[in-house]
């Protein structure tokens, strides 16, 4: 099919990678957006969900925020933010056109998986373990810091991993409202019936998404306090984390 040779032609042409509108520039921009939004969401979501999980309250909210997040189309929220008086399409530093709107949307969509997973992770730490910690005379803080947090870590990391996938996807969609990021190559290609370019952009987005996912999986394995091989023997499989709304 001709379109495949168009894709190859676009990807192998050095000039499509450099300069304004080049792949590298958009890639760096989207990675910057993804990283910033993830850090913002972690800063907001982690303390909140950990606290709620520790005191065992707000479960309804922490669980249902994921359901609400799924029902709201990322495209719709981005469109509303961009069209509103504020934040609108104002360029924001290295984040490009509609930078603030995009960052807000990305952060909001990263929060549900982080909050739900973290809450469940802290909450599901076995009751007898918590009781034993209390019996040893640990204060609430010590119990959280030295017992609950280490045991919850793998599932918390799972939530962060889901959030990363979600943020990367949402950052791609920002292009549908003429925002920043790699999605611009896709939307520009399709808007000008240059399908080779559009599909080439999609290939880059998909490949980077998978690389990020693999890196996140490796990081998740690295911080797991109970090694994999030891876990297999016990039958206490971790509660599987739910899939997020992908975008």
């Amino acid at each position: 099919m001709r379109v495949f040779s168009d894709v190859w032609a676009y990807l192998s042409d050095g000039s499509s990678w450099t300069g304004t509108g080049g792949i590298w520039g958009y890639l760096v921009q989207q990675l910057l957006l993804t990283g910033t939004a993830l850090v913002l969401a972690l800063a907001i979501g982690l303390p909140l969900a950990m606290w709620l999980g520790h005191i065992g309250r707000g479960g309804f909210l922490a669980i249902n925020i994921s359901n609400v997040g799924r029902a709201i189309p990322t495209f719709a929220l981005l469109a509303l933010l961009v069209t509103a008086e504020w934040p609108g399409i104002a360029t924001f530093g290295p984040f490009g056109r509609a930078g603030i709107a995009t960052l807000i949307a990305l952060t909001l969509f990263a929060l549900p998986p982080i909050i739900t997973n973290t809450y469940v992770a802290i909450r599901e730490v076995a009751g007898e373990v918590k009781e034993a910690a209390r019996g040893m005379g640990m204060t609430g803080w010590q119990q959280f810091r030295r017992v609950e947090l280490p045991l919850a870590m793998p599932l918390v990391a799972g939530g962060v991993r889901l959030a990363l996938v979600q943020v990367w996807a949402t950052a791609t969609i920002a292009a549908l409202v003429a925002g920043p990021g790699l999605g611009r190559i896709i939307t520009d290609g399709f808007a000008n019936s240059n399908y080779g370019k559009g599909i080439a952009g999609a290939v880059v987005v998909a490949v980077v998404a998978m690389i990020l996912e693999v890196l996140a999986a490796l990081a998740q394995r690295a911080i797991d306090p109970v090694p994999r091989t030891a876990k297999k023997k016990h039958d206490d499989a971790l509660p599987t984390s739910p899939l997020p709304a992908t975008t």
Binding site: T74, E213, P242
Partner: protein
Amino acid sequence: MTLLVSAAEPSCYNRTVNDWWCPAYLSDYRTELVDATVQHLLITISAVLLGVAIAFPMALLARRYVRLETAIMGVSTALYTVPSLALFPLLVPFTGITATTVVLGLALYALTILVRSVLDGLASVPDDVRESARGLGYGRTSQLMKIELPLALPVMMAGLRVATVSTVALTTVGALVAHGGLGNLIADGVLTNFKAELMAACVLCVVIAVLLDVLIVGAQRLATPWTRTRVSA
């Protein structure tokens, strides 16, 4: 006379007013809204049904052959990380700029959630129940149909809810290939700075998601009368 009135009182979606909330838009652009909603529903429902139709046999095969399960889970997780805005273009060489591209892409996402939930659901059937069924002389197929699937229904339905609600939201991205249902209106609203259209399309998306979710919960209650008396987790 009417001209005079409209001049004195411009409708709320007039260029100069451009309100977010505008009942006049809903009545004046009714056909456009209905068409977009119908397209949205058609795409969503075909995608979910296609997903269900493929997910079932796949899950049953995966359960039978452990090695196949690892492969299916691996591929579907990889697929799930691909953003929809990138997945649709990747399908375009095969299906073109059509609704099929959107339906197929969304079905692939739904499939990922559904296969997982069918497997989780079947795994949630207690071993002693399975053993009793075997002891009562149930064959492989009748055990699956009469014992395991009904008991797996709550978990599978939970997966169906997640798949349906996310598909409704994702359908909007189909606007890239001009088949996004309400997403087309959202794209047009951004492009032409038409706030009433944008807001109406966004709200309708969420309403559709909630309605379909309620519908599935209702169907589940009817299908699993035994769970109603018990307090479910």
